[in-house]
């Protein structure tokens, strides 16, 4: 067995299959969790019929979607229309590859892991825009345009706030960032002020990136019905929903890695404990996103832009400078 795993090809394939499956299971379970959670917040019970406590509801939903016909509108660009959901799923799974879930649990240990993660999640604009354009529907077009405008704007503060841990840890490698935190403490706490503001801004902008309330403007149901996915039916629609859940989960995971010390925690030298720490921290952020989702209303597109360009970008620029100063003053603890 150990010999088999030593083969880099086999190891790569095996680990990607395991992680991709794991992430898809998490996404399916996340739909159940969200519906249960939202139910509790709204004095409802939530799904409780399919399986114990409704746990099999995601499977029932997936089966329903699989059995549905995939309709392509007559004047839609059929190739791009079919291509977009798969492309979206590909991009999200590509992000998973670079995230270290434990000290030794990762698919790829990239030296520029953070850049890969941000680039791949930044590319998520393309499937949304493709879907919006190819649907040949005005509501979808609006959704696509809003997605692009929002994504491009929020990419800037997202990258800048992610630069703070990079400057502090002196590396783009996500594992190095976590290991640095396990020695020197979480970036969300230390250095005082800089870290916590960067964390809050990173978390906020990643919500915008993942299109979650209060930033779910591209799919604003009350005005655009479902935005980019308005013409989709069956499993392609299901893929968009899945991607959204995975994206939210990954945003939480990256925020955990960058600011909350990733897998580090008491007893994290044992790989299972480390994995549990990582999943627990990610889950707390994830649950927080849903608590926000079910209690806030959404911004308007222009308010979002004001917030981004007039507040978040200058603040994050300042934070990066402060972090650089901090590293030089304290010699970075190195």
């Amino acid at each position: 067995m150990a010999d088999l795993l030593a083969n880099p090809w086999l190891r790569g394939i095996l680990s990607s299959v395991v992680l991709a499956t794991g992430v898809l299971v998490v996404a399916a379970w996340a739909t159940w969790f969200e519906r249960k959670f939202a139910g509790r917040m709204q004095n409802r019970i939530g799904p409780n019929v399919v399986g114990p406590a409704g746990l099999l509801q995601p499977i029932a939903d997936a089966l329903k979607l699989l059995r549905k016909e995939m309709l392509v509108p007559r004047k839609a660009d059929a190739f791009l229309f079919r291509f977009a959901p798969g492309f979206a799923l590909f991009l999200t799974l590509a992000v998973v590859a670079a995230i270290p879930w434990g000290q030794d649990i990762y698919v790829a240990d990239l030296d520029v892991g953070l850049l890969w993660v941000l680039a791949m999640s930044g590319m998520m604009l393309f499937p949304l825009w493709l879907a919006g354009w190819a649907s040949n529907n005005k509501y979808a077009l609006f959704g696509g345009m809003r997605a692009v405008a929002q994504g491009i704007s929020y990419e800037v503060p997202l990258l800048l706030s992610a630069m703070v841990p990079v400057v502090l840890a002196g590396s783009f490698n996500l594992r190095t960032i976590v290991e640095y935190q396990s020695v020197h403490g979480w970036f969300a706490i230390w250095p005082p002020g800089i870290g916590v503001i960067a964390f809050v801004i990173y978390f906020t902008t990643s919500l915008a990136e993942a299109g979650r309330i209060p930033f779910d403007i591209p799919e604003a149901e009350s005005e655009l019905i479902a935005g980019t996915s308005v013409e989709y039916t069956g499993m392609p629609y299901g893929l968009f929903v899945t991607v959204e859940y995975i994206h939210t989960w990954l945003s939480s995971a990256v925020a955990t890695v960058l600011f909350l010390g990733g897998w580090s925690g008491p007893g994290s030298h044992i790989w299972v404990v480390g994995l549990c720490w990582m999943l627990l921290k990610t889950f707390i952020l994830f649950a927080f996103i849903y608590a926000m989702r079910w209690s806030l209303v959404r911004f308007r597109a222009d308010q979002l832009m004001h917030l981004c360009w007039k507040w978040l970008v200058p603040i994050t620029l300042g934070l990066v400078c402060l972090a650089a100063v901090w590293v030089n003053v304290t010699a970075g603890g190195r």
């Binding site: 939202a38 917040m41 709204q42 004095n43 409802r44 005005k138 509501y139 609006f142 309330i213 209060p214 779910d216 403007i217 604003a220 149901e221 009350s222 005005e223 655009l224 019905i225 989702r293 079910w294 209690s295 806030l296 209303v297 959404r298 911004f299 308007r300 597109a301 222009d302 308010q303």
Partner: protein
């Protein structure tokens, strides 16, 4: 002959000439509705957009037209009540009261005090129920069906359920009650009804504070509704608006206070008036009115009059009510404004058993008439918020 003082000042022009609009602009026509989830029923608006900014809005109501007014001319007076339940389907009780009040005016009969007491309480309960829906759906429009809006919507429906329970105990129905008849009530107050109402009022008052925290004290919500879709007092007057939307624009008119009916003359109805005229003011106005209704109901419950609940003997069938020639108009304060019924009765129409003509003045029609004026200049997102803040009921607009 013209009276210059009666001439309205010129209105803003909603019928903008699109050919004269900015030469290089790439205008796009977006059809909002009639199946759009945020149009509160089947209502179609044709929007001409420049980017996301609305240049022109044309409204097309009529998808829910049922020919109610024509139907009235075939039905006897006793058969009309269940039909009007379906007009303003968020406040059926007030529809029933309004139409029976115009028949009572025609007959010239005095409704017994106990029945008037019941009608007052029912009207206020219905007002709360209707405003709860308006509050919930407005936050739903601003916050999204899958988001914070849905939470407030669920909460308001939970409270509305309490009122529906109270009505169910009284009438046996939850939505289309048919409990009012010419000259009084059909069902008497059930035992222990006041205890139930008091408990419901306490519960609703408590949750009104929760809604405040989730909405008008929330920064994002304020940002979405403050200063959006400002309706000036002049325009509101010229379009004949009253009710919560008019009062949010500074029109100090409430028929409960200014032309009292039922027992309102004995009550000191406090009419809240706001002058901002934006979406937030309209939203806050409804919340204030709910609190005022709760106060009125508590006062009413202190003194329960005894006596009969109907002036006429129990209806012997559809022929029981006959009207002579005449014309009557009765307006009541519905949750959306003045709900008026104009009755022309004729002894010749179906032997005096049916109205010759019964015209409804639905407040929602006047709300919908605001669309071409309020929407242009706002973004698509704001258009939905404005439409939600007006809270029209299409069943009443199209009739």
């Amino acid at each position: 002959m013209t009276f210059s003082c009666l001439q309205p000042p010129p209105l803003p022009d909603p019928h903008i000439d699109l050919d004269a609009y900015e030469a290089g602009a790439d205008l796009m026509v977006l059809n909002l509705g009639p199946q759009h989830p945020s149009t509160h029923g089947v209502f179609r608006i044709k929007l001409v957009l420049d980017g996301e900014i609305i240049v022109k809005a044309v409204s097309y109501p009529g998808y829910l037209h049922r020919g109610v007014e024509k139907l009235f001319e075939k039905l006897t007076y006793a058969q009309v009540t269940p039909i009007v339940d379906k007009n303003d389907y968020l406040s059926p009780m007030i529809n029933e009261q309004a139409i029976n009040m115009v028949f009572e005016a025609g007959l010239g009969i005095e409704v017994p005090r106990r029945a008037r007491w019941m009608r007052t309480i029912i009207a206020e309960l219905q007002r709360i129920a209707s405003h709860l829906v308006a509050i919930g759906t407005f936050v739903l429009d601003v916050g999204g069906a899958i988001g914070g809006g849905a939470s407030v919507f669920m909460y308001t429906f939970r409270e509305r359920e309490l009122i529906l329970d109270i009505f169910e105990e009284l009438t046996g129905a939850r939505f289309h009650y048919n409990t009012h008849q010419v000259g009084g009530q059909r069902h008497d107050v059930p035992l222990g009804w006041d205890v139930k109402i008091r408990a419901a009022m306490d519960s609703i008052e408590k949750s009104m504070d929760l809604y405040d925290t989730l909405t008008s004290k929330n920064g994002i919500f304020r940002g979405r509704s403050l200063g959006v879709g400002v309706l000036g007092r002049d325009l509101a007057l010229q379009l004949g608006l009253n009710g919560p939307v008019g009062r949010a624009s500074g029109i100090d008119l409430d028929l409960r206070r200014d032309a009292p009916y039922h027992l309102y003359g004995e009550l000191d109805v406090q009419v809240p008036v706001l002058t901002e005229g934006d979406c937030l003011a309209r939203f806050r106005m409804r919340a204030l009115e709910v609190r005022e209704s709760i106060r009125l109901i508590r006062i009413l419950l202190e003194d329960v009059p005894e006596g009969p609940i109907a002036a006429l003997k129990p209806s012997k069938g559809p022929t029981a009510v006959k009207l002579k020639d005449g014309q009557w108009y009765v307006g009541v304060e519905s949750p959306r404004g003045e709900l008026g019924h104009y009755l022309i009765a004729s002894a010749g129409a179906n032997k005096g058993m049916s109205p010759y003509r019964l015209k409804i003045r639905p407040p929602s029609l006047h709300l919908v008439s605001l669309v071409p004026w309020l929407l242009p200049g706002n973004s698509l997102s704001d258009a939905i918020a404005i439409l939600g803040s007006l809270d029209p009921v299409m069943g009443e607009v199209d009739r």
